[in-house]
Symmetry: C2
Subunit: 341 residues, 2 copies
Amino acid sequence: MTQISTLTLPQPYLLFLGDVAEAPFAKTAFGLRDWAPNLCVGEFALDGCAISTGLPRLSPQEAHDRGAKSIVVGVAPRGGRMAEAWIPALVQALGAGLDVISGMHGHLEDTPELAAAAARLGRQLIDVRKSPTKLPVGSGRKRTGRRLLTVGTDCALGKKYTALKIASAFRSRGVDADFRATGQTGILIAGGGIAIDAVIVDFAAGAAELISPDANEQHWDVIEGQGAILHPSYGGVSLALLHGSQPDVIVVCHQPGRATLLGLADFAVPSIEDTIALNLDLARRTNPAVRCAGISLNTDGLTNEDADAVLAQEAARIGLPCADPMRGGAAFEDLIESCLV
Amino acid sequence: MTQISTLTLPQPYLLFLGDVAEAPFAKTAFGLRDWAPNLCVGEFALDGCAISTGLPRLSPQEAHDRGAKSIVVGVAPRGGRMAEAWIPALVQALGAGLDVISGMHGHLEDTPELAAAAARLGRQLIDVRKSPTKLPVGSGRKRTGRRLLTVGTDCALGKKYTALKIASAFRSRGVDADFRATGQTGILIAGGGIAIDAVIVDFAAGAAELISPDANEQHWDVIEGQGAILHPSYGGVSLALLHGSQPDVIVVCHQPGRATLLGLADFAVPSIEDTIALNLDLARRTNPAVRCAGISLNTDGLTNEDADAVLAQEAARIGLPCADPMRGGAAFEDLIESCLV
């Protein structure tokens, strides 16, 4: 697996919860627990922390003794900046032999106490959102191996989870497959990747090319999508990722009932059909054989009956398999079949 | 004119030619002489420089005495790095009261002698390619005023010159119009703008929104396009600029006879028709009223007769005005009429 210029993270992790009081602030920690439990030896929390992932609560030294290689700041700080109270805890983790990994916007190196401790102890401070330097411009060169990219009608509706579930289903069938991460939580789960939204736009397609390198002809890369082609804020990210991924197959992710774009109430969510057509039109540029294998519907919040009804209705209307990968079942098997045809 | 987070450059300029021996290395200096002669008080060259813009050759002090506010490094250094021999000359310019402006990839601040001299003398070092900090994410909010964006079938075929010529033709007709720059040479000509290709991809549409701010309803911003939607390296740049510019009018730029993309010989140049259709499809997302007013053909190298024949033939085939803005004439008048309808 070539990983030129992409991150490779020291695993397994100790999950740092800081002193947060509410679970939504620890989204990354919970995501890692759910999607990569074998990579998480435990959690480390400060006094006042009111949540738990349910993993063993360990000191950095105990975690190190159980094989942890790094501590992950799996919580979003209020205001985006590192809380003062976290610094001595992370210095303690460095002292126990753990590298520190952060998905925060700010850089760990910018906290002088951490920079000094890491330098003194010879440990790494790794910012998952930091773009690698020396990225190439996209070349459009066709790479070997097969690729699937999840694309969306909007942001935050299941592109990462769909890719994880598809990669896992491929492997269950004996298909050689890697999940390829393009965002911070995905990178922590995969142990590598590039946060594509943090790259200079001139190099975004080049970064996407690096994320899914040449592989053997039977190998599948299942690539986490970002943004949406018809999103006024993030269309550029999505197009660079589409061109650079040169997918053989796209799976369109959608949330039934979402009428307007998240955070942009003046913009209607585009139709699934328009999203398929536009993505295929654009994707043909770097892979003329691209096709849409089906739809991933996020039916979170619906009853099983309602979800099944929506999936059947949309499959009939669009003429492609529709499944909620989180529910699995026969519909998801159909979607996987359609991907692997 | 709002210019939040966009550059504003100290003008007029002294053009620095360094010690270059061949005109192509001084493309930016020649572009400024041709497009903004009133902004150039003269040129400053070192011993061994074998070229001239034809402007008065002045010392930094002489240029300052004639009103120059800055010296522009209008030459591309071999290997992208500042030549040792240039440093004392630029320090001399700082001492004469000029700010230093560079369009090179490297940052002026990274040359310690320049950083020290600028700090000591209270002068600015301005890197045109450096992205402004604190850019917003694109909002998609409709802005007041009218906008034209030049788009292309490929890179480097006349999107900047077309925008400059159209803005100038608009003004000749008494239409209130600004050229809006998105690349380094354009920014030097306009005295402001953002080098969109140097922006973090998540903020590229937001940067495009800043480049053409709210204006009065009769005002036109004529925006310099970048890249091409169907370019495997730069599609993301082009889409972010298209969404963020929310143009009322696009003009498609093309070079007849160019069969494959510059530097990507495996990729055919897309057809003008496909380029129109795809750009309009995508641009409707932020401006449903967008239309294509015509085609700008780069007929450089053709005889007048051949150029006229190509323009007439393409106009008849596509059903839209086709002109070479550098040749002007009735065809260009038709294109301008079509833009202003």
